[in-house]
């Protein structure tokens, strides 16, 4: 690929790719690293047979695969230096509400936050997202619905304080359910690592 065409592609898609990679990785160095890898593939001719109309989807799929691969890698799972950094990243923004929204988005699992971005920001349909992320459209729909619920609840709670009245009671109930779910998960985690008992034989 010639450099001029590459420059055009780079200018057009850099922002989108960075957002997607950041949504997966939740830290800038890894996100930029993967953005670079994706564009190196483009420059290396990996997307040579991809039509201009499909290039955007190709870039998203390639970035997603690279991010997922890195998230699954042993060394990534065993390092902690970036785990909390994203939480402070948006604190100094001029619009606190946006910062809160972004923190909530980033607190979702990637399987929720990436479809949310592709659906609402990039405007892809659930079946298109499903093809890109290798999931069925119904799975994407379910994830979007759950993400919407999680985002709406937590954000309303933060913006409106304790809420109150009928609406607040409804939120509280669901949040409590969510807390119970988290407690259950935490208990399960504790069970994993607390498993030392050897029972007598039958």
């Amino acid at each position: 690929m010639n450099t001029d065409k590459f420059e055009m592609i780079y200018s057009k898609y850099y922002g989108m790719l960075y957002r997607i990679c950041f949504l997966y990785m939740k830290n800038t160095p890894d996100a930029l690293d993967i953005v670079q890898d994706v564009f190196l593939k483009v420059l290396g001719g990996k997307a040579a047979d991809v039509s201009d109309e499909k290039l955007k989807a190709w870039l998203i799929v390639t970035a997603s695969n690279l991010c997922k691969s890195r998230l699954r890698s042993w060394w990534f799972k065993n390092r902690n230096e970036y785990d909390e950094s994203y939480k402070n990243r948006f604190e100094n923004t001029a619009v606190p509400e946006q910062s809160e929204i972004m923190e909530e988005v980033l607190s979702l699992e990637w399987k929720y936050r990436v479809p949310v971005y592709l659906y609402y920001y990039e405007g892809y349909t659930t079946s298109e997202i499903g093809r890109m992320l290798k999931a069925s459209p119904s799975t994407i729909q379910t994830r979007l619905a759950k993400a919407r619920t999680l985002l709406r609840l937590s954000l309303e709670n933060e913006w409106k304080g304790d809420g109150g009245g009928k609406e607040g009671h409804g939120r509280e109930k669901i949040i409590n359910e969510s807390n119970r779910h988290n407690e259950k998960k935490n208990k399960e985690r504790k069970d994993y690592y607390g498993q030392t008992t050897i029972k007598p034989g039958i």
Binding site: W74, M102, Q195
Partner: protein, 375 residues
């Protein structure tokens, strides 16, 4: 929060222009296509790098070829399925003795069942000879490949503590990866059949042979984060004279049906605090007891799980009957992971993965149940 606010928040994920430009330059530099005046500046460096690379290439030809083979050899097995792709942990462990390279490529677990994909690659002719002789089903000739029958893959993967738990439930070679210098094996273990899968899987001791060693041992982290779904069974729960069914635990990997026994087992503790469980079922009723379970999915497929295992009374660590941690159930009616070998009927489908969200119901001993998700 509306869509506009959400999208404005997404706009915040950005870098400044200088970062964008730096990345662009780095890409071009890495690709060796820097344009403009700086091209001359970097030409010398690139020439030096090219010469160095060429020199290294001469020294590293065998390894480089091998690296290419590795790259092409294993394309993923468990991670091919979209339902579990995100839960598969890759490249967990690797080891070499100079003739072979062994790697734990993929690990997938739902806390009760774990699948592990292990690969071997030859690094030289000795390694190739070892791979050529490898036969996962041929225990009697294990001496030919330099190991005894206690150290080869069928028994190589065991849980901690291995003295009280079951070993690999099943293993088979993935023939699609077999070449003169490569092979891959899938191993499966369960949490512990003997103790009714009470505890969750967290670690497994993997023992594996190399060219001149009966076994090497490593401890693998096999803890899991896969979603677990539990459903109340809606239907006539009186499915057998020895037990009722109450609820089912479903994951992408396995199914466990829980229920309550009716004079099927005794559970007694002796004066030392040890306990024993004994079956009260007469021999002629053994087949009657065995639960016949079929999973039905949205797409109209059915999956026969009747090859699964039946447990005893669910107990706590002290040997007391434990119903409070099992939604009132006191026994495991049937437990199985999805795999080809449990599919018996001609009209039933073969699978390794079933998405719990696609399951519409199950049949136990001919009684059909719809499912109601439990919190």
């Amino acid at each position: 929060m509306d869509r506009q606010q959400l999208n404005q928040a997404f706009e915040m994920i950005s870098t400044d222009e200088s970062c964008m430009e730096n990345i662009y330059n780095e890409i071009l530099e890495k690709h060796g296509k820097r344009k403009g005046p700086s091209k001359i500046k970097h030409k010398s460096a690139w020439t030096k790098m090219a010469l160095t690379a060429a020199a290294l290439l001469v020294l590293l030809v065998p390894q480089t070829i091998f690296a290419d083979e590795i790259k092409d050899f294993f394309t993923g097995f468990l991670s091919r399925d979209e339902n579990v792709e995100e839960y598969v942990r890759q490249n967990v462990y690797e080891d070499t003795d100079g003739h072979l390279r062994m790697a734990v490529r993929e690990v997938l677990s739902d806390q009760k069942y774990t699948r592990v994909i292990i690969s071997y690659e030859a690094l030289d002719d000795e390694g190739r000879d070892w791979i050529k002789k490898f036969d996962i089903n041929d225990y009697s000739h294990s001496d030919d490949i330099g190991v005894t029958d206690t150290g080869f893959p069928y028994t190589a993967l065991s849980l901690t503590p291995s003295t009280l738990t079951s070993n690999s439930r099943g293993s088979r070679e993935l023939k699609e990866f077999r070449t003169d210098s490569t092979l891959a094996v899938i191993l499966e273990i369960n949490a512990d059949r003997v103790f009714n899968l009470t505890n969750n899987l967290t670690r497994a001791d993997l023992s594996y042979p190399m060219t001149h060693e009966i076994s090497r041992i490593t401890s693998l982290d096999i803890s899991a984060n896969m979603d677990v779904h539990e459903y109340k069974l809606i239907g006539d729960t009186n499915v057998n004279k020895y037990y009722d069914v109450s609820y089912v635990r479903l994951t992408n990997l396995s199914i466990i049906v829980y229920g309550n026994q009716k004079n099927m087992w005794t559970c007694e503790k002796n004066k030392n605090g040890w306990y024993t469980q004994e079956s009260l079922v007469p021999e002629e009723d053994y087949d009657l007891c065995r639960a016949k379970v079929t999973i039905h999915t949205k797409d109209g497929n059915s999956y026969n799980c009747s090859g699964g295992w039946q447990g005893g009374i669910l107990t706590d660590d002290e040997g007391n009957v434990d119903t409070k941690n099992h939604r009132g159930a006191d026994t495991t009616i049937m437990s199985a992971s999805y795999s080809e070998d449990m599919v018996l009927g001609d009209d039933l489908k073969t699978t390794f993965v079933i998405n719990p969200e696609d399951v519409t119901g199950i049949t136990v001993n001919g009684n059909y149940f719809t499912l109601e998700e439990l919190n």
